[in-house]
């Protein structure tokens, strides 16, 4: 039994539902979910939050967060979020999208929602592969990375270079905050949470569009052990997708 001297130092956030997730061992969605859940608690946003679910492994996020949620067609979450936020300005509206969803089929929706400066937050989980559909090439797949649809490795001449979404998004006028974090180490996870908080604050302070990319592991489709997959983020992904804040209007001293 519990010793009276023990002190509880780590709890499940109230915004996270007490149930097992469907994610593979070593997947970082669970970490990303937890960061979102912690912030919803800390910023007192849970009861007015509206999650726009998307397609892919993360579609079931709505089962793991204790918030109102609606499911969007693939790639369209920023448009659905636009409609929801315009209709209910008092809600805290956020999307949670993977790289195939956001950077491929949903490229138009993310660019224009960002450019309009929609008061929404976007959590962009980049694991350089289509997860749920079985490991196909994503717009963010690294050159040389093997997937089921580039079995010889992504070729720059045939498939183009991996798209750097945070760099692109940060150029758009309506964006108040854009940053890229990573979930491969405790230090990076802490920084990622700071970025997410900033992105969320852009909406609560009515500053503009908030965007955070999170480099994440997909051990199953990378065909790696969880440990090796985690190491790959630091060795291969971060050099191509540099971490950091790309735009922050609060530091620039004004709203967009």
């Amino acid at each position: 039994m519990t010793d009276m001297n023990e002190k509880l130092v780590f709890e499940r956030p109230e915004s996270v539902v007490d149930r097992a997730t469907h994610y593979c061992p070593g997947c970082h969605h669970g970490v990303a979910h937890r960061l979102v859940g912690e912030l919803l608690d800390e910023m007192n946003l849970r009861e007015k939050a509206l999650l726009i679910g998307s397609i892919g492994c993360s579609v079931f996020l709505y089962n793991y967060l204790d918030v109102d949620a609606v499911e969007a067609p693939h790639g369209r979450a920023p448009a659905v979020a636009t409609g929801a936020k315009r209709a209910r300005n008092d809600c805290f509206v956020f999307t949670y999208q993977g790289d195939g969803d956001l950077a491929s089929i949903g490229m138009a929706e993310i660019m224009h929602a960002a450019n309009r400066g929609e008061r929404i937050a976007v959590v962009f989980v980049n694991n350089t592969v289509y997860g749920m559909t079985g490991g196909q090439m994503a717009p963010t797949t690294l050159v040389g990375q093997k997937t089921t649809t580039c079995p010889g490795g992504r070729c720059r001449d045939k498939e183009g270079m991996p798209i750097k979404m945070t760099e692109i998004i940060s150029q758009l006028g309506g964006v108040a905050f854009a940053a890229r974090g990573s979930l491969d180490s405790v230090k990076n996870i802490r920084t990622a949470k700071k970025y997410l908080r900033k992105a969320f604050e852009c909406q609560t302070n009515n500053l503009g569009f908030g965007f955070v990319e999170l480099l994440s592991a997909c051990p199953t489709n990378w065909k790696m052990t969880p440990v090796k997959a985690n190491e790959r983020i630091g060795e291969e992904m971060i050099p191509y997708f540099p971490l950091g804040v790309y735009k922050d209007v609060t530091e620039e001293g004004g709203a967009c």
């Binding site: 204790d66 609606v70 448009a79």
Partner: protein, 352 residues
Amino acid sequence: MADKIFIKGNEAVARGALAAGCKCFFGYPITPQNDIPEFMSKAIVDAGGEFVQAESEVAAANMLLGAGATGVRSMTSSSSPGISLKQEAISYMAGSGIPAVVVNMNRGGPGLGDIGPAQGDYYQSTRGGGHGDYRLLVYAPATGQEAYDLTIKAFDMAFKYRNPVMILGDAILGQMKEPIVPWQPELPGDEEGAEWRLQGTGGREKRLIKSLFLEEGALAGQNQYLQAKYEKMQGEIEYEAFETDDADLIVCAYGSIGRIAKSAVRKLRKAGHKVGLFRPITLYPFPAAPLLEMAKAGKRFLTVEHNLGQMVDDVRLSIRTVADSDFFAIYPGNLPTPDEFEEPILKSLEGK
């Protein structure tokens, strides 16, 4: 508010939506419906609502999905190629029970077609249009006044059934100016959709609006629920029966073509021919029962459409146990006059 105003059918739709309490409009330019977003870009904002010119029809329809999920009365409008692009979101809205009004000012197709009037989107409108088994309640106004009235009704029906409702017009209806009498319906209070809408939990249990049903049997259950909803919609059928009682031949036509056919029927009546008009106002559900009654009474049928034969399927399905229907096509790309209907009507009347 009872004064007559002289406006285009497109504006009648927009004004009807505002009268119905529409608070969000998401549009994208395409001819011949541009008057609707242009009107809304000021009027809905003046009324305290939101207007977004989306980056595409795809995005506009998904904005509609997002706004509809929060229980706010919302609308989008487009024309044929644009409506094709909206079908993905419409299927999702139907699959997840999100109310919304979608306006299609039908132009000529297939493909880019032309910007003139046509009725080639009948199948797309009444058979779902997107993926999966679903239906929209579809209203086909024939006049500016009907466009106003039915748009108001469309919002009520969308929320009554938690389903997208379509207003299907064409370039004639949209572009023609005529007098209408606007009126103000009694609006629902803030409680509309309160039992399902999303606006943050605010202390209650969380809610989820979705169309994904992976557990074994769950999707079958959802489809049973949807089919039961469509069955209930059968109670909403509307139609106009003009000079049908003693008619030997019933001309079946809808929307603008129904209105032109009515002129032809009126003229032939004056000449002593026993013809009448059956004009479905709801295209889905199709008013099959009253049509069957006419068939049982021994009447003949001629379906006239501004396409190559689409609604005629529903006419034939309705009367198939006792009768059949002739068909006369006005090829999209042409604008018919009532006179052009006379020969096919007389031929059909004589059984030729």
